[in-house]
């Protein structure tokens, strides 16, 4: 701080009066900066950092939270078949949903990019609607579309001669349904990010490629994908975290059922910790979301640092 204060007046060939005034401001600077960031620091440390570590502490307590039991909660979880099912389901849910969101987002972004500029706004506006509706409310519409006896999808499929599908009743179909709703909700986000990225690719690159006789796939592989690499990586990582930690859609659509076949970490932690009253066990379950978070954090930090170097 002081070094800036000393250097600044030297670079400004300003009159003495304003220079001393500047020095006063420089002296204030650290105080002001501290006061400006203080609320943020308090919020982040009290409401995010502390609870995150507190969760680790809670995970080492017994159900009544009066005794330290080390890793017993975890060893208990490892013996439960449901736990391994939840691990498997969380991974299948997050990975397949993110892959399809990314693919659909990519294709739709290209489609929007391909039509004349003046119509793009309208189409983009309609395609982003699933992202705008609060997921807890739009999932209710899906729940009604999937209703066991009044499913509107089954009505249409019945007209085509396809038997009633147990959308949320059968384990495999229920898994399919929660993934489908998640894709429906999340794909527009990918679309909007990819579209922004597509718009930032200089058109000259494509013109040169067209002159050289490049095919569509060559242009995609050698121009579009390398230019969009960063955004694809960041968006995918980001979505992987959010999808892995998803709660709303699964909770409303299936509440983890049938017989725990669609539980993911978040919903199972809620079931055990809040509804079941075993806070330490719930905290232990939710902690399994940390590894994916750590991996993502490393990658994102790398990107952020690169960006800082460019600035």
């Amino acid at each position: 701080m002081s070094e800036i204060a000393v250097r600044q007046p030297a670079t400004f060939a300003a009159p003495a009066r304003s220079r001393s005034r500047l020095r006063v401001f420089m002296r204030q600077r650290s105080t002001v900066a501290f006061l400006f960031t203080l609320p943020l620091l308090i919020l982040v440390s009290v409401m995010v950092v502390y609870p995150a570590f507190y969760a680790m502490h809670l995970a080492t307590l017994n159900k009544r939270m009066d005794r330290f039991i080390g890793l017993s909660n975890f060893t208990f979880l490892f013996t439960r078949e449901t736990f391994w099912m939840v691990v498997k389901q969380s991974c299948i849910f997050a990975v397949s949903a993110v892959i399809f969101k990314a693919l659909i987002g990519f294709v739709v972004a290209h489609l929007v990019h391909a039509i004349p500029e003046k119509g793009q706004r309208k189409w983009r506006g309609m395609l982003l609607v699933p992202w705008v509706i609060p997921p807890a409310l739009s999932t209710l519409a899906w729940l009604w579309l999937f209703d066991p006896s009044y499913s509107a999808f089954n009505y249409v499929l019945g007209g085509l001669g396809i038997g009633p599908i147990p959308w949320t009743g059968d384990a495999m179909w229920a898994r399919f349904s929660v993934i489908l709703v998640n894709i429906w909700y999340g794909a527009p986000f990918f679309m909007i990010m990819y579209l922004a990225a597509l718009k930032s690719v200089p058109a000259e690159l494509y013109e040169v490629a067209a002159i050289d006789g490049a095919t569509f796939w060559q242009r995609l592989w050698f121009i579009t994908l390398p230019m969009m690499r960063n955004i694809i990586a960041i968006t995918t990582l980001f979505s992987l975290i959010v999808t892995f930690a998803n709660f709303d859609i699964v909770w409303i659509l299936t509440a983890g059922g049938p017989i725990d076949r669609t539980h993911v970490f978040a919903t199972w932690a809620f079931r055990l910790g809040i509804q079941g009253g075993d806070i330490p066990l719930g905290a232990s379950v939710s902690l399994f979301m940390l590894p994916i978070l750590a991996v993502a954090a490393v990658f994102i930090l790398r990107d952020v640092n690169k960006r800082a170097e460019r600035m």
Partner: protein, 304 residues
């Protein structure tokens, strides 16, 4: 376009090559429209069905007629909800919480972003990165320790936070502040340094520089951040589900999902009407401020 370009070009014998390219391009656009229509149908079916169902009487819903048509449209579901004190309480709680959270978020994140982007101090860049990382910590990791923390807080001070709507004012900023700070850092960084240097030399204080120069210049960013904070608060589901249970303390998202779905009497017309009314504020904001909305969405990856 992907599909369109992959189609083999029709063998053209007589046509000139430029004519052929024009035709190809026209077909590519036609195929793009065709597939866009399919995706738009996929995107809009649930909200459309929401609207359809909300216009039906419950006996029309239970009579297994064609679900994709309304034979006797009615606004009774909306009228009933808008005259139900419970639903209006949900709406009021949601509105109060979201507006207050937006204000709290802006009061915290705008000065912090200003300090982090302009007043380089020891650790400022580490802090900026740290803020972004906290944005990645999901609420599903924090709700259990927070629940216990609020219980401990009550034991210490006698102030009951759980099961009061104002507990949400404490927890929602953890979802909104980090990202809004990040957006604002990006917007502030794009303001030329000469502007604040000139202001400081002219004798403006840091606070004046922020309020008189940065806030007006970065207004688009502030609008984008405000929209983000509002829609996130409005849509949040897990925290209110975990921290509030009394009916008069519920916000809209939880209220509709828990009280309107009664054990076995499913009144879907009313549920869908409620969901539609609950989705209306974000949809209206989106319809009128789409560009700001999208700017806020893409800011995380393209700005800063």
């Amino acid at each position: 376009m992907a599909t369109a370009a992959a189609l083999p070009a029709p063998p053209a014998i007589d046509t000139s090559s430029s004519h052929m390219a024009g035709q190809d391009r026209r077909w590519a656009v036609r195929w793009a429209y065709f597939f866009l229509c399919l995706f738009v149908v996929f995107a809009l079916v649930p909200p459309f069905y929401m609207l359809l169902t909300s216009l039906k009487h419950s006996n029309e819903i239970s009579a297994a007629t064609n679900p994709w048509w309304v034979f006797n449209p009615t606004l009774a579901n909306f009228a009933e909800l808008l005259s139900s004190p419970l639903f209006l309480t949900f709406f009021k709680n949601s509105a109060i919480v979201s507006v207050l959270v937006v204000i709290i978020t802006m009061l915290i994140s705008v000065p912090a972003a200003f300090a982090l982007s302009r007043m380089k101090f020891w650790g400022s860049s580490v802090l900026a990165t740290g803020v972004f990382l906290t944005y990645l910590v999901p609420e599903t990791l924090l709700f259990i320790p927070l629940f216990k923390m609020f219980a401990t807080f009550r034991d210490w001070t006698g102030i009951e936070l759980i099961n009061h709507w104002y507990v949400l004012l404490l927890v929602y900023p953890t979802l909104t502040v980090p990202f809004c700070t990040w957006i604002m850092i990006g917007y502030f960084a794009s303001i030329p340094k000469e502007l604040d240097e000139a202001a400081l030399i002219d004798g403006a204080s840091w606070t004046q520089t922020l309020l008189r120069i940065f806030v007006p210049v970065a207004l688009p960013g502030i609008i984008a951040a405000t929209i983000f904070a509002f829609t996130v608060s409005w849509a949040q589901f897990l925290y209110p589900l975990a921290f509030t249970t009394s009916q008069d303390q519920l916000v809209l998202s939880v209220g509709i999902a828990t009280t309107l779905i009664k054990a076995d009497v499913f009144n879907w017309g009313q549920i869908m009407a409620g969901a539609l009314l609950g989705a209306a504020p974000p949809l209206v904001i989106y319809a009128f401020l789409m560009d700001y909305y999208i700017a806020g969405l893409t800011a995380g990856a393209t700005k800063g």
